[in-house]
Symmetry: C2
Subunit: 172 residues, 2 copies
């Protein structure tokens, strides 16, 4: 149980008939600091809370910022696709897009080769709005990864990709 | 700009007076898949959404589960401490604790050596309630990290610790 190679300490139960049964580790045996979902939740919540506060000065929400960020890379996504990339529920998305269309930051239009599909496009005003906040977002990102060199960052991103693929595959 | 060692492609602006000025990369130059905050948000949101759904069958919320998880390791935390570890806003925390106290899962009592401090303690009923859901939580965790060996996991956790320390230090 103290093997360096074991990820967590696993207890082994011995039943009354003498058979050994592997028990799952308890939360205490793993410990919060080694439980990645806990660490991920804390980091994500902190980033989002700090981001929300910093964006208030720009009269913007984190949801709107994420939508502009995604569309600045890939204009013309469907509402469904945008919901996934901007990590926003579809009900919230529709409502938010209404507001952004009023602000002139996006426009919704049918796809030319399939008029049933509605695409969301960023406008020049939307690009400008995002460009105004991007330096601040980038600065927060740089500080978040201070002391983490390129090799470590690449390895980190690689693991994040595997985790995301797992979550999507299992629909855990 | 295509150096393997550069984390992102950085443009260099040459001003009209001939001086070179390093520009920050754009969102497009980094790309969503290399932007860790995006990956962290997606993973965290997916984990929480899937967890919420799985816990419904146990008549429990993710917030309550996290509170029980933390207290099962460290019973006797203050409401403030619990808010941090359980990644819950303090207003939500007080309300949630009221409900959990009614359910008999926790009790709040003054700290013996400082009666001004209120500690939150888990009860046996609370430990049992958590024990009922823990196998499911653990299983989701195992699936999330499938294909990721111990070395990779340890490196991942180490980077997460650095990131969390950075976010807390800067109060980014």
């Amino acid at each position: 149980m103290t093997s360096e190679r074991a990820r967590f300490q696993r207890g082994v139960l011995v039943r009354t008939d003498g058979e050994a049964e592997a028990a799952i580790p308890s939360m205490g045996e793993i410990g919060l600091q080694q439980f990645a979902p806990y660490l991920l939740n804390r980091i994500s919540a902190r980033w989002n809370a700090n981001m929300a506060e910093a964006l208030r000065a720009h009269d913007m929400t984190t949801t709107k910022m994420r939508i502009l960020a995604v569309l600045s890379i890939s204009s013309g996504l469907t509402v469904n696709e945008l919901s996934v990339f901007a990590v926003t529920e579809q009900s919230t998305m529709s409502r938010t897009l209404d507001g952004m269309e009023e602000q002139g930051f996006i426009r919704r239009q049918p796809r030319p080769d399939d008029m049933r599909v509605r695409e969301v496009h960023i406008t020049e005003a939307g690009r400008s709005a995002f460009a105004r906040v991007w330096p601040m977002v980038y600065e927060m990102f740089v500080r978040m990864f201070e002391g983490i060199d390129d090799d470590e960052y690449q390895a980190f991103a690689k693991t994040l990709h595997k985790v995301l693929a797992n979550i999507r595959r299992h629909d855990i």
